[in-house]
């Protein structure tokens, strides 16, 4: 609980700081991917490989969310036949992966970015 509290405090002070934006990478089509290009502003703040690893893992998660396979077809067809009422009971594959992504981001923030003052 102490860790979360300090994370929230850091977040409040972060709104006054400069922001660095990671741009989208469209080389693979319209899928949601981010550029692993290292922003020059972070040059002295964090190791290059850590940042690249974070972005690569996130890209992997997003690719998994948008993966078109047998299970996603089944989910789509089942949803259609139940007039999409099934989504009142269960969440879509995409939402499940999004939850994983936010957990991963929280974890990365706590372990890597917050200690370097990069929240």
């Amino acid at each position: 609980a102490l860790q979360v509290h300090s994370l929230q405090e850091l977040r409040r002070s972060a709104s006054l700081a400069t922001k660095v934006f990671v741009q989208r990478d469209y080389s693979d089509g319209t899928t949601c991917q981010f550029q692993t290009k290292f922003p020059p502003e972070l040059e002295s703040r964090i190791e290059r490989h850590l940042f690249e690893e974070t972005v690569k893992t996130l890209n992997g998660f997003y690719a998994e969310a948008e993966k078109i396979g047998g299970s996603s077809y089944l989910e789509g067809c089942l949803a259609c036949t139940t007039a999409y009422f099934i989504f009142l009971c269960m969440e879509t594959h995409y939402e499940k992966v999004l939850k994983k992504i936010s957990k991963y981001i929280q974890e990365q923030n706590e372990k890597i970015y917050a200690p370097r003052g990069l929240l």
Binding site: Y26, S27, G29, T30, I68, C80, A83, Y84, T92
Partner: protein, 249 residues
Amino acid sequence: FLCRCRYLAVQLSPAIPVFAAVLFLFAMATLLRTSFSDPGVIPRALPDEAAFIEMEIEATNGTVPQGQRPPPRIKNFQINNQIVKLKYCYTCKIFRPPRASHCSICDNCVERFDHHCPWVGNCVGKRNYRYFYLFILSLSLLTIYIFTFNIVYVALSCSWSLTFLTVLEVLICFFTLWSVVGLTGFHTFLVALNQTTNEDIKGSWTGKNRVQNPYSHGNVVKNCCEVLCGPLPPSVLDRRGILQQEEST
């Protein structure tokens, strides 16, 4: 058609009006879903992000002298070995993703923009295209169904003293059929090729010197599956946020 129901139910089968009701309810449900769901609107850039992007653009192009309209901002990207230009949207202050377009009626950039449908009262884009397709499909099936059974009724009842209403109904059905089935056929063609109406109108992927559609998988079944049954990304619109006082730039 409602008047014919009782006759048809008695003469042929009670399942006929029941099926028509089911189709009608399905069409209504998909219509409401298309109208009220977010088509994939890309929210405006936050002031920080807009400033960051402007800085990047100025760094690449150099500052433009006062009074001159800056040239359209384009970034080139490669997708599957083809160059795709990304345009900068002045209203939304973002670089539009490929296949996105700005709708002047909704005043928003929409992902995988298909068209703005006045009948539905909403843009048709990535997130509601499948509902839109199901809507026109069910509507055309319903129209064909009603048209057929109108003819059946006329044939069965053998009454050649056709009332004005019956003739009117048949005529309306026929013209609706023509337009709705035509539209459904057109969209089926687009789905099979994984194209949007916008791309088709502009002729982005057709013509002699143009590149082929990089988003098509080449296989009709795969394209259909991706468009209609693929995963649905959640909405990125902040519906519940309170609008901050806009600072004048």
